[in-house]
């Protein structure tokens, strides 16, 4: 059975003024895809092609105008908000911005537990410790504030925050873009390891085709709010159909192969 199943999701961004009829500024979709447990889906496309919007639709920051998202065969709607919080979690692009500067890491991690689970204080604390260790941090990091952490550690805390509710799917908006090469490969390794161990579904947006090729099982190519191509990574990279995809892949290959001679 599919872990997550997205059927015909559409979204229309409308501007309505008092006297003029509402007009559509941007429309997204229809988007269809499905993902098995332990699989990775990469979304690629230009700036402004609606990648981030799609991510927001998946985690529920925006509500789609039509279509549905099935999780383990069950339709998710706004009524299942709590379940959605549990099962689909998001990592933001800017790990610095997504951590609260005024409270400690421990308090940050405790918040989703208080809001979504019935655990008592003791259970919460042990859960926090376990999750911190899972992402390669120490128990003591829960007393740290945001400004005491390095970039890589911030990314790990953001990941811990996503993982603490034992989600089934993680959605990430450019998780590697702001990281330095050595920290980036650490994070990639960590994510792949966690995915293998926990059987997570992982959906991420990226510009970096090298990483996409390395990590993703499936690819979704978007242009102007529409999905123009989707399929297995190998297929897309070797036999792209659409012009846009061809151009993207070709440029990437050129960059990889061309060296100054």
């Amino acid at each position: 059975m599919d872990l997550i199943n997205v059927e015909n999701i559409r979204f229309e961004d409308k501007i309505s003024r008092l006297f003029t009829p509402a007009r559509t500024v941007f429309s997204l979709g229809p988007v269809n895809f499905d993902l098995q447990a332990g699989e990775t889906l990469a979304i690629i496309g230009d700036n402004g092609s609606g990648k981030s919007l799609l991510a927001k639709l998946l985690v529920g920051l925006e509500t789609p105008s039509s279509g549905k998202i099935l999780l383990n065969g069950l339709a998710l709607s706004t009524a299942h908000h709590k379940q959605k919080c549990h099962d689909i979690r998001m990592i933001f692009q800017n790990s610095t911005g997504s951590l609260n500067p005024g409270i400690t890491v421990g308090a940050m991690l405790e918040e989703p537990l208080i809001l979504n689970t019935e655990l008592n204080v003791q259970e919460r604390l042990s859960k926090i410790d376990n999750t911190l260790r899972l992402v390669g941090l120490l128990d003591d990091h829960k007393f740290f504030y945001r400004h005491m952490l390095s970039d890589g550690q911030k990314q790990r805390v953001a990941l811990a925050k996503a993982l603490i509710l034992d989600p089934k799917v993680i959605v990430a908006d450019e998780p590697f873009a702001a990281l330095d090469p050595s920290v980036r490969s650490q994070t990639v390794n960590l994510l792949m390891g966690l995915q293998r161990d926990l059987g997570l579904g992982f959906i991420f947006i990226s510009h970096n085709l090298g990483i996409v090729r390395h990590v993703a099982d499936k690819i979704l190519v978007m242009e102007n709010g529409a999905v123009i191509e989707s399929g297995k990574t190998d297929v897309i990279f070797n036999w792209p159909k659409e012009d846009y995809t061809k151009r993207l892949i070709e440029t990437h290959q050129q960059l990889v192969n061309s060296q100054y001679n």
Binding site: D46, N47, S150, D151, G152, Q153, A177, D180, P181, S182, V183, R184, S185, Q186, V188, N189, M192, G193, H207, L209, G210, I211, R213, H214, V215, T233, R247, L248, T251, H252, Q254, L255, V256, S258, Q259, Y260, N261
Partner: protein
Amino acid sequence: MILLDVKNLTLELELAGEWVKALDKINLVINQGQIHALVGESGSGKSLIVKAIVGALPNKRWKITADRMNWRGQDLLSMSVQKRREIVKSDISVIFQNPINSLDPLLNLGDQLKQSINIAALPKHLFWQRNQYKNRRVEELLHRVGIKNHERFLKTYPHQIPSNLLQKFMVAMALASDPKLIIADDPTRGMEVTSKAQILRLLSRVNQVKDTSILFVSHDLLAISSMSHCMTVLYSGQTVETGELQQLRKRAYHPYTQALLDSAPSFRKDLPPKSPLTTLAGTIPTLHHLPIGCRLGPRCPRARKECVVTPSPRKIHGHYYSCHYPLHWAGR
């Protein structure tokens, strides 16, 4: 011919009452007509080097010392501020990573481009012809960077233009004064592949046509390796390795260079998908907590007792490296 020759550039800054070496004995040589890449992660001092070269650091909180910092034979450090500005203005242009922040939002693009044209370099003419000359020059510049619809483009303001086009415009602005050296400070950060490739092609064309040297500052190895001749790798304010790019990629002597090369999955064709990437443990040290000796020490897989002493640069075939226990060494 050697354009820029920097030897043992050290930059100290005061942090909580203590002087910290943000740059520690940096060596950098840029030849005429060369694209030289400066690679390093954040905090490695790339931007500081750029600022030190163009003299954009305020003198107060910094101490800059160098054995040599020559621009075409003239010593940059000992000359007057006035003269240095003069040289930087006529010979060096800088392209910044974020074009929208480095342009004036209130002037249209045409005016800004005209401002950066060096009047002295124009042929002799009467003053009423000046504007005409300028307009012709602006047109020529825009065509050279591949912006076609120049008349409409020149009337627009920075916020109306997408950022990849704006970055091309920045290249045009950098070319306006006919510089000998263009410093590109991470010009392709955050761009997607196609626009990145365009900018890179543009820069290497500028290099080929005009024989302009380019100092390309970035941490994107893919971009660097597609166009550069030479590469200098920085780590935490120390030069780790310098040499011709091909040589470096084939045989890196410093463990950090190797780790950097390995961290980009695109470079390794034999790598099966989903296999773990090789990486260095730990994170980049902050300025408050710089390790003594070789600053890679705590993260280095080959570190030994001697690494607490800063290694001096060694040279083989024009390929400098600073490491006590270089890779690929046992076989030689």
